[in-house]
């Protein structure tokens, strides 16, 4: 019964999504367009009853009482009021369907095809739970759930947007949802029954049997799909021709929330790949990693341009464009992963028909949004202008550089597809991405150091230089020290290390001379995020420059040294887990005269489905990680051991979390300030 219930809930949610779209569109057609001036500025905060107030305005505006117009105004007000509850109900229904799917997995109900194909009664509890989204259909259901929940959140909490724009936004969100409901119901039904049910399920891909699976996909999806809000906001603003600071201020917190999740998801995903895949790398430029990086790059650019729009009313068309691009990248990513067009760990289902379906959705949504952009943005007036050397100028530079990196990553990801269409199979790997995106990323980091030191509107480089004299001196000293002490270092890691120090100091500059207790929270947010970037950069550069790797075939009893450690290979022994058996090596590592400690890397063999994975054993210290992997054995009884000493590699992820934390601080700061402003506004209105 449960699967049928869930399927019914899914159908109902799809119907509500259609209703939301139709209601929104109808209400929008009949709600009169307000003069632009009234949609901005002082009237901004008194929008609660906006729909009802405005419904009366046609009768007065037209002089006479046109009965039709009056009635239409009344109905549209009713329609408009229904949109928010519909959005919430839709989210509740699809959320229920998703919870039921989890329940089906927890019970291992093998009469459901999806469970039979992807689960197993002997799987540990956590992986039954997380297995619900460790497959194509389940992950698409999660996708749609997040989409609906994001729409409902806007319906519930967004109070500062003009009613018309909000209606258009919710209608756009429903339109996106509708296509993906159709995809789910017609091409990827997660609740299909199997008759007769099999005796046992196929099990979950062992690479996914890791606690990371429980957190990584939902976090990433909240960011990935949450950015749909920005897309819908942009569509709403284009439909109502209402692009201005008020719109930017309303959109900013939503972009921030999605961006925080995206940052966390990418950081966690990177660490997961680092310890689970056992290759010692933290970023592989895998198409799926790129699929999550591209929306992040676009969202980061959007976050900065939206600030320019909110503060200075510039970059109107560009901000709207970025909002469209950010979610388009999420959809392209979904397409790349779900269609099986690119091979990857994440490609659960290789089915060209599904690919064609998503491609159709892509064409509709992205094509539609870009066409709307082309048709409408000409009517969006140019915002205010500014001098090149100014805060705005630095933010434009940030946007340009981020966009270039985005373009490079996109081209690198799709290039194999393009050549394959012409009959040649190639793969594009780290050499391309590192050498193409690396230097631009360093330039971007420089812009990041300079930007916050510049004033809005107009500034002089000389003044900015004076404000940044301490970081500049630190950079020069670091460069000198690095060249003297570390000769023969690669150029990119060297620059990375030096800039990390300089930029790290510069990112603190906005705090100097301020009363720290009275500094607004969103300034703290910016500082922490920028510092996080510097910390992460330091980790990347240090890992690239100082990592020591040893690949040996060793017999038990032998000692191998790597970095500051001497690692003795004591023994191998078989071990068994709930659904796997493994060969486990016992390694005793010792640093100088320090206390020895035990590391136990495993080569695991899962039996459902039969696959081998390698579980690295990692020792984390303040100044780096010792990373050990056991490989195969040869006839003479030697075992392959791979040992890495990675100085300060943990800074990469620490920095990532700092970036997300900074986003969170900014979010809290912005929301608090907006609420205070609204309260003040209400008081003034009452006075």
């Amino acid at each position: 019964m449960m699967a049928e219930f869930a399927l019914a809930a899914l159908w109902l949610a799809a119907a509500l999504s259609l209703l939301q779209l139709v209601l929104g569109a109808l209400a929008l057609r009949e709600l009169p367009i307000l003069p632009v001036s009234a949609a901005h500025g002082e009237g901004d905060h008194a929008k609660h009853g906006g729909g009802a107030d405005r419904a009366d305005s046609p009768s007065t505006a037209y002089g006479g009482p046109p009965p039709h117009g009056f009635a239409a105004g009344r109905t549209s007000a009713v329609l408009a009021r229904a949109v928010r509850p519909v959005a919430v109900a839709q989210a509740v229904l699809v959320g229920a369907a998703f919870l039921l799917l989890i329940q089906l997995f927890l019970r291992t109900d093998l009469s459901v095809q999806l469970v039979a194909e992807n689960s197993h009664t002997l799987k540990p509890w956590l992986y039954k739970f997380a297995g619900a989204w460790g497959n194509h259909e389940g992950s698409m259901l999660l996708w749609v759930t997040v989409l609906a929940v994001a729409g409902a959140a806007v319906a519930l909490f967004e109070r500062s947007l003009p009613e018309r724009t909000l209606l258009a936004t919710l209608a756009a969100q429903a339109a996106i949802g509708l296509g993906f409901y159709a995809f789910l119901l017609f091409a990827s039904n997660p609740f299909r029954r199997l008759d007769p049910p099999p005796l046992e399920g196929n099990g979950l891909n062992p690479l996914l049997q890791d606690p990371g699976l429980a957190f990584h996909p939902p976090t990433l999806y909240f960011g990935y799909v949450g950015i749909s809000i920005a897309f819908s906001f942009a569509v709403g603003a284009l439909v109502t021709r209402d692009v201005g600071p008020a719109f930017a201020r309303a959109m900013r917190p939503w972009v921030l929330i999605a961006w925080i999740f995206l940052t966390l998801g990418i950081t966690a995903g990177s660490y997961w790949a680092y310890y689970e895949l056992g290759w010692g790398g933290w970023w592989f430029w895998d198409p799926v990693e790129n699929a999550s990086l591209m929306p992040w790059l676009a969202a980061t650019a959007l976050l900065h341009s939206v600030t320019v729009l909110a503060t200075r009313d510039s970059l109107r068309a560009w901000t709207v464009m970025l909002a469209v691009v950010a979610f388009s990248m999420s959809m392209v990513g979904t397409f790349l992963v779900r269609s099986g067009i690119l091979t990857s760990v994440h490609a659960f289902a290789v089915d060209p028909r599904r690919g064609a379906f998503i491609l159709l959705l892509l064409a509709l949504y992205i094509g539609g949004a870009l066409a709307l952009f082309g048709a409408r943005v000409g009517t969006v007036k140019e915002g205010t202008t500014f001098e090149p050397v100014s805060r705005e100028g630095a933010l434009v530079l940030n946007n340009l550089l981020l966009t270039v990196i985005l373009g490079l990553v996109l081209v690198g990801t799709l290039y194999p597809l393009a050549t394959e269409a012409m009959g040649v199979k190639v793969s594009v790997g780290p050499p391309y991405f590192n050498s193409a995106a690396g230097p631009i990323a360093l330039a971007l980091v420089l812009a990041m150091a300079l930007g916050p030191a510049l004033r809005w509107r107009r500034d002089r480089l000389k003044d900015a230089g004076r404000r940044l004299r301490v970081p500049l001196a630190a950079t020069a000293l670091a460069l000198l020290a690095a060249m003297l002490l570390l000769p023969g270092m690669g150029l990119l890691p060297l620059l990375g290390l030096v800039l990390a120090l300089g930029v790290g100091t510069a990112s603190l500059a906005p705090l100097w001379g301020r009363n720290l207790r009275r500094t607004p929270l969103f300034i703290w947010g910016m500082v922490v995020s920028h510092l996080g970037i510097a910390v992460s950069l330091a980790g990347m550069a240090s890992n690239a420059a100082f990592t020591e790797e040893r690949l040996v075939a060793a017999r038990p009893g032998e000692t191998v040294s790597v970095g500051p450690y001497a690692v003795r290979f004591d023994a191998v022994q078989p071990v068994a887990g709930p659904n796997w058996t493994a060969i486990e090596a016992r390694l005793t590592a010792r640093r100088g005269g320090g206390r020895p400690f035990l590391l136990r890397p495993q080569a695991r063999a899962f039996f459902a489905p039969p696959t081998e994975t390698s579980e690295a054993a990692i020792a984390t210290r303040l100044d780096g990680q010792l990373y050990t992997v056991i490989g195969r054995t040869d006839e003479s009884g030697r075992w392959q051991l791979r040992l890495w000493w990675k100085p300060f590699v943990t800074l990469i992820w620490l920095g990532g979390f700092m970036v997300a934390l900074g986003g969170f601080l900014a979010l809290v700061g912005r929301v608090r300030r907006a609420r205070r402003a609204r309260r003040r506004g209400d008081e003034e209105a009452w006075a």
Partner: protein, 175 residues
């Protein structure tokens, strides 16, 4: 200028769509084809994998008549499945040589004892070097090499009963 810029994103997106469409259409064949088809067999000389069969060298494949080269391993299940088809090809008079990948002599001998022995020469390739040189990415794969040592055909995966005739015909054509 501004007008053109405004429509540029849509144009770029349309181009990407086209690439995707072409990419989706091409998905029928996920196998990795050898780049060596139509080229001479690269030089190699492999030691015998089992007693009773000589080893295999590139020169053995350019002696006037077309031959099949089966890339296999005793640890590979599909190789067991295709053994009867190789025996059938052998009965039709087609000479077959083999390269045993990452294998041990006693295992190969046991494999040939249990599943039939259609091979003339069996070379041992303990590090997959010859396999990669031939452009093979897995086991089993079967290459048709003509009398001049040119690779004419690559069959990826196990040979099914219904594919025996086609391979026979290709061998006849290569004469």
């Amino acid at each position: 200028m501004r007008r053109a810029l405004i429509w540029l994103p849509l144009a770029v997106f349309a181009a990407f769509l086209l690439v995707f469409l072409l990419g989706l259409g091409k998905r029928d064949d996920p196998a990795i084809r050898s780049q060596m088809i139509g080229k001479p067999v690269p030089a190699f000389a492999l030691a015998p994998a089992v007693p009773g069969h000589p080893g295999l060298a590139a020169a053995d494949l350019a002696r006037g008549g077309p031959r099949l080269v089966n890339v296999f391993a005793s640890w590979c299940l599909p190789c067991r499945a295709e053994a009867p088809q190789l025996m059938a090809l052998k009965r039709r008079g087609i000479p077959i040589d083999a390269v045993a990948i990452r294998d041990r002599g006693e295992d190969v001998a046991a494999f040939l004892r249990d599943y039939g022995d259609p091979f003339e020469r069996v070379g041992a390739d303990p590090r997959s070097q010859v396999q990669f040189a031939l452009g093979s990415s897995g086991v089993p794969e079967t290459f048709l090499v003509d009398g001049r040592g040119i690779i004419r055909l690559q069959h990826i995966g196990d040979i099914r009963p219904e594919e025996v005739d086609a391979i026979h015909a290709a061998w006849e054509r290569a004469k």
